[in-house]
Symmetry: C2
Subunit: 281 residues, 2 copies
């Protein structure tokens, strides 16, 4: 990466982290200052975990998980390590969002409020289920070493598309949730009289949108993509001499060095792989 | 495009058109059957133009405008014609959405309801303004022949990114609008008692999301992109013999044939152009 591109990347990364951090902070201030605070009592305090965990896990941590391959100083780390971090962050996000959903169901049950009637809840539950599915499929297809490369090449564009679609839908769901909550609670003074809580929480909504926009920009710049395995170039030129190594590492129980030869093996699937590459936008 | 890819494309295109059409139909049924109908009287009938025009123009027509370059049977048409159709559809969408915003402001004024207090209105007005800006910039940079190719190459990735981000944000805004409206009007029976209108309009929200997902899939498949100008290949090989022609067409008042030589001229800006291409995902 040229120094110029590197500075641009750093600027956007710092902006994304800042705006993401502010989103989490604003959510905390919202529930702690404007609402009743946090607790696990079947009441409003328990409900309040819902926005806090959803914004922290499903927006901020998921956003970071999406751009983690783009950090240039991780390009010397093994692809397997980076995949593990990507999967780990998404797993943490999944756990947090599941707790956030439990908090709401628990609150509704305790207060005898019906479940799952709003558009927010329909889209939200769908997206949580699909997110867990995406996580499991990603784990089995890309992290575990047993999936054939042809399956990986076929699944990669779908994985990238689903991941970004889910992230975008999560943001839409959060904005619906904010809207819903503000119309519920801002009665006196009413939301339409511009009370501080309304203006503050609208601003939170804008911050979340900007965070999403920054993540989308960072992840769709082709020049900021992790380069194809540098080790594999070495491995491949060794293979050129050894001739047999290049056709290994296609399936079965892979060692660490075999994982590194994936890129070499993929050169044989060039068409498919190129499609996968470009679909990362 | 191979026959296989062509069938896949057709299937997805028909699905997108169907789901988009259903979204518009559901919105019409919502306001005509469940709400009070349409009119321009400062009351609820005037407000109802807001969802109808927003879903028709800002969701459906904008979605079609985004994928219009992907229709294989248009690849023999000139790039200029396709740009005009793309710009024309976006202009129609802009006009419809501006009328939809006027309807709401008019309704609010007539009913003495304050303007611009909700998150939906903040995000919605921002997105309308940015959409008009995107339209104007697109018109001056890409449709009119005067912008230098270096500017076009620089602006293209931003144009594509902004366009898709705006489209996604429009969908989020519509979902907030639906949420807001349902909590307003579904009092007796309440939204949480699963009245037919609530279930019906939640379904509308899901349809709009699915439409967005289909448009995003179609537009981000690299194999469904319009091929680089076929005429330019001819023009370029002619230029190979003429040697001078290849450096023409960079700026100034362009004739139609000069527009066709854009692709040839762009080969000189390969790095930038490639970035632009790939950023279309």
């Amino acid at each position: 990466m040229a120094m110029d591109g590197y500075r641009g990347f750093l600027g956007l990364l710092v902006s994304a982290l800042l705006v993401g951090f502010l989103s989490v902070l604003f959510t905390l201030i919202w529930v702690l200052h404007y609402r009743e605070g946090l607790g696990w009592n079947g009441g409003a305090l328990e409900f309040n975990w819902h926005p806090v965990l959803a914004v922290t896990g499903f927006v901020f941590i998921q956003g970071i998980a999406i751009i983690v391959y783009r950090l240039p100083w991780t390009w010397k780390c093994s692809k397997f390590l980076m995949k593990s971090i990507h999967a780990g962050l998404n797993a943490v996000a999944a756990v947090l969002v599941i707790i956030s959903v439990v908090a709401v169901f628990d609150y509704h049950s305790a207060q005898s409020i019906p479940h799952m009637y709003s558009l927010h809840s329909w889209v939200g539950l769908t997206v949580v289920i699909l997110y867990v599915l995406q996580l499991l499929l990603g784990f089995f297809i890309f992290l575990l070493p047993w999936a054939p490369l042809s399956l990986r090449a076929l699944a990669m564009p779908v994985h990238v598309y689903s991941g970004l679609l889910l992230f975008g839908t999560v943001i839409a769901t959060v904005l619906m949730g904010v809207t819903e909550k503000l119309f519920f609670v801002l009665k006196n003074p009413s939301y339409h009289s511009f009370p501080p809580e309304g203006v503050f929480t609208n601003t939170l909504g804008l911050l979340i949108l900007v965070f999403g926009g920054l993540v989308f920009w960072i992840v769709t710049r082709p020049q900021w993509k992790r380069p194809k395995e540098p080790e594999s170039t070495l491995l491949q030129s060794e293979a050129m001499e050894g001739a047999i190594a290049i056709s290994s590492g296609n399936s079965g129980d892979k060692s660490d060095s075999e994982l590194n030869s994936e890129a070499a093996a993929r050169k044989r699937n060039f068409g498919l792989d190129e499609a996968g590459q470009r679909s990362t936008m």
